[in-house]
Structures are given as C-alpha cells and as structure tokens.
C-alpha cells in the first residue's frame, strides 16, 4: 500500500499517494491550469511525457519544472502560473 504524502499547491495542502506526479497533484488540488501562454491563455498538460512543456510549474522556487515528469515529495511547494 502506497503511503500518503502531503505537499502544497498554491499554498493549499493536498494529500496524494506516493508515486503521484506533480501534474496530477495540481489537478487533485482543484487547480485546472498549470501556466499561461505567450498571449495569456490558460494551459494544462497535453503530452503527459515531458515533451510539450504545457505542464510547467514552479516547484520549491524552481521555475519551469515539468510537473508531469516530477514525482511529489513530502513538503514540496508547488505554484502554478495561471
């Protein structure tokens, strides 16, 4: 049985199963979008495999991290840009 871990998305705590990606945690936290496009459109993950960069968010202060390729860790601070 995978363990539950707690992280924050835009300052709100969310609990997810170990092995969950940050992209999924953002969705579970009820945040529909990950970033804003060059012309200000809100965007969400497209490819799910680290190619398209639509899922990028800020993780522990580091900008432009691909959330679909990053696993959640306890205490992680995730910020969307949308």
């Amino acid at each position: 049985m995978a363990e539950l871990i707690t992280l924050t998305v835009n300052g709100v705590a969310v609990r997810v199963l170990e092995g969950t990606t940050v992209a999924a945690a953002v969705a579970i936290a009820g945040q529909p979008f990950t970033r804003r496009s060059a012309t200000g459109e809100p965007r969400a993950p497209l490819c799910g495999m680290g190619i398209c960069f639509e899922c990028r968010v800020r993780i522990d202060g580091r900008a432009d991290a691909r959330s679909c390729q990053t696993l959640c860790r306890p205490g992680m601070e995730v910020r969307t840009d949308a």
Partner: protein, 442 residues
C-alpha cells in the same frame, strides 16, 4: 554543484524496451554498459508506472547483467569526440551535471505522439491519447470523467480500455482511418496469430465503448479555458459529444533530436540503420521507434540486435540469430503504418486563427502566409518552434500540414532541453581525463 563523470564501453540512451534490451545484451557480452533515462523509473512510455511481469523480467535482467542505470537523467547534449571514436553525453540529473563518455552509443529515445491542431485543441482537457494514459498512470484523477478518445493508431483502443478500467466514462473512440484499410490490415494479421492486434481492436467493444472508423474530431468547445464538448465527423455526418477530456493523438513520431545532433542520416522520417542497427555514424546505433514505428516486440528485437552488435565480433553471431524475427516484425510494422496513414481531411481542421505553435501562440494564418514555406521560414516569420518545446509538438504537425520532411523540423542544437544555468556552467569545468569507471570488465 554536484558533478559526476562516468565512462563505459556502451552507453544506451533511453530506458524503454529497446534501450533496456540493448543494455542487457551489451552487458551480457562483456561490455561495461550504462543506461540513461530521463524518467524517474525505467520502462519508457509503454511500461510506465506498471509492474508488468515482462517489464520486471527485463529490468531484473539488466541489473543482473551489471548494467549501471542512471534514472532521472535528461540528456541535453551529445557530441562525438575529436578522435571520432568516443561519444560524450551531457545530462542533467536532480543532483546536477552528469557526463558519460563511451566507445559506442545506442540511441533508443523512442517516439512521441503526433498532435494536429484543430479549433479548441489548446483547451484544458485536450491531451494526447497516450498522454492522458501517462497522466492517469501518474495519479491524475479520471474516475467518473467523460472522455472521447480520438486520432489514429493502435494505441487508441488500448487507451480507451485502460481509461475505462480506471473508472472513466469513455464515450467513443474516433479512429480517422477508414474501416476498409483496418479490415485489410486485420485480414493480413490472420496469418500471424502471434500478433494480438485483432483482439486489441476489439477491446473497446469488450468494455462497451463504440469504436468509429473513418471518424475524427473537427473542433473542441469549452468554457473558461476548459473542454466541455467536441464535434465529431464521420463521412457527411457531424455530431456533438459532451465530455471532460479529449484524448487525441495521431500516431507516433520518433524523437530524432539525438541522432540528428550526432549527424546520423535520416531516411523517410526515421534514423537510417544497417543490419546491425548501426547508423551512418560508426559506433552510433539506433533501435526501437527511432528507426520505425512498430510496437513493443519490434523494439525489443532491435534493442537486442543493437546491444549484441555494439559488443563487437563476439556479439554479432547472437545478433544475426535475431534477423529473421526482425524481418517479420518489420513486415507487420509496414502494414500497420499503411493502415493508419493520416487522411488529407485532417489538414484542413485548423482554421485561420487556430494556434499551431502552443509555445509561441503562432496561428495557422501566419503559417499560411508563407506557405508552402519551410521550417526555417516558419521560425523566422512566426516564431513557430522557438519556444520551450523546441518544435517537438508543432514540428511534426506542420510537417504533415505543409509536407516538410520531418527531419527538417528537428531542432538539434544543445541544450536539447532547458537546463539550469549552474548545470551549463559546470560543463565548462569538466576535467576530461578524470572519469570514474563503472562495473567490472569481464
């Protein structure tokens, strides 16, 4: 800044089936082998996040053979050394820079989905077909959501069945290829019972999802940036389907960045290789979907051939024993790709104001102004392909829309992925002669 320098005989880049098989066979042929993969766990897209027994067997075999596995390593540069006899790969891992010098390299970077632009495709909820599957494997909540699966390829029924078993309410599968071609393909397979393709095509029906051939999505509709419905066309008939997700991908395209960067020849959109899976660059091998789209078995066989062949004379006998099997699988792949070839109707889906480059928000009308144009002209005039994804999404779609060779749309310039400044800075401080060696040469 943490730095790691490794050296080996055979470096395998890409930890999907082809790469794992290649690393196993190289290591079992007395080569010091390193396997690099950008994902947190080995397995590639097909074995992602699932302890499938076949996957476990191969990964265990790699460990037992003494393959050094470096996960979470994003290769951002690769170059042939001046002596032309060694290849240097630079990667960024969560810990920092990791460089690997090798005598021979096997590239097994796999494929990605081809996306095609249509009105509304930038809405939240429109994803790749394999893309949504990957997201769900990563814990994305899908239970109770209404999903339309669309696009083209044998992946679609598999994705529909997968989503259904994860609690999604799959409305339909829309396959753009006409029934006539699928039926021909299926009949060809009747002679090849080993390929479970027909069973795969039946999967959606088995779980109660309608499978429509000769059918495609013409537009996605949404509210507040999120998908609410799609318009579907089949022949002269169009109708609307309410849904939360549209999982839509149009076959696969190879990830050619590394081979192109190393100067490997590309033919008909894939890395060109000889019977040993060796590219036009001596000592650089390519295996799996880089050389053609053909599924798991084909990737495993090609990976094994490349791994044995890269070991030199000692391995070539064992490589040769696999040639007949590879020939069979190539025949199957050719039929498959013919069956799912994309129809011209898909070229007219994007309207003038449809975004074609999601990184730079370049629109169809801007591309049409320079049509037939070229990838270079597109970049200069519209900034298409200049954003974070470096054309990985819009390159293959524009290649289809405007008939440009796909290799012409590959941006093969380091860094291949955005990397941290401190990682780039660390590349300048490399001590070229100080390499830790790994494993024992047997």
């Amino acid at each position: 800044m943490h730095k790691q320098s490794l050296a080996c005989d055979v470096l395998v880049i890409g930890g999907g089936p082809a790469g794992i098989a290649a690393a196993c066979c190289a290591a079992e042929s007395a080569q010091r082998a390193i396997l690099l993969d950008d994902n947190p766990a080995l397995g590639g897209q097909i074995w992602r996040g699932k302890a499938n027994s076949q996957a476990t067997r191969w990964i265990d075999r790699a460990r037992q053979a003494g393959v050094q596995i470096v996960g979470g390593a994003q290769v951002f540069a690769v170059s042939a050394r001046e002596d032309r006899r060694t290849v240097l790969a630079q990667t960024e891992t969560p810990e920092g820079l990791c460089t690997v010098q090798c005598e021979r390299a096997i590239l097994a970077t796999g494929a990605r989905e081809r996306f095609l632009p249509f009105p509304g495709w930038t809405l939240r909820g429109v994803t790749g077909a394999g893309g949504l599957q990957a997201l769900v494997k990563g814990g994305w909540p899908i239970a109770g959501k209404r999903v339309v699966v669309a696009g083209s390829g044998p992946l679609l029924p598999a994705v529909a069945a997968f989503l259904k078993t994860h609690g999604a309410d799959v409305q339909l599968v829309a396959e753009q290829a006409p029934w006539s071609r699928l039926v021909n393909f299926g009949m060809g397979l009747a002679l090849r019972p080993a390929v479970a393709m027909q069973a795969l095509m039946l999967l959606p029906q088995l779980v109660g999802v309608p499978y429509h051939a000769g059918c495609h999505v013409t537009a996605a509709h949404g509210a507040r940036g999120a998908l609410t419905a799609v318009t579907v066309r089949q022949g002269e008939r169009t109708w609307q389907v309410d849904c939360d997700y549209l999982a839509c991908g149009f076959n696969l395209v190879p990830n050619l960045e590394l081979p192109v960067l190393l100067g490997c020849a590309v033919q008909d959109g894939f890395a060109a290789v000889n019977e040993w899976q060796e590219s036009s660059q001596p000592g650089v091998y390519c295996a799996g979907e880089l050389t053609g789209i053909g599924g798991l078995e084909r990737s495993l066989i090609e990976g094994q051939i490349a791994g044995y062949a890269a070991a030199g004379e000692s391995g070539r006998q064992r490589a040769r024993a696999l040639f007949a099997r590879r020939r069979d699988l190539h025949t199957y792949a050719t039929r498959l790709n013919h069956a799912f070839a994309l129809g011209d109707a898909l070229k007219t889906l994007a309207s003038a104001d449809t975004i074609v480059c999601r990184c730079e928000d370049a629109r169809r009308a801007q591309l049409d102004e320079i049509a037939p144009g070229s990838w270079r002209a597109a970049k200069l005039h519209t900034r298409c392909g200049m954003g974070a994804c470096q054309g990985r999404v819009c390159g293959p779609s524009l290649s289809f829309l405007y008939g440009w060779p796909i290799e012409a749309t590959v941006s093969a310039r380091p860094p291949l992925f955005p990397v941290r400044l401190e990682t780039l800075a660390a590349t300048g401080q490399q001590e070229p002669n100080q390499h830790e060696t790994t494993g024992e040469k047997r």
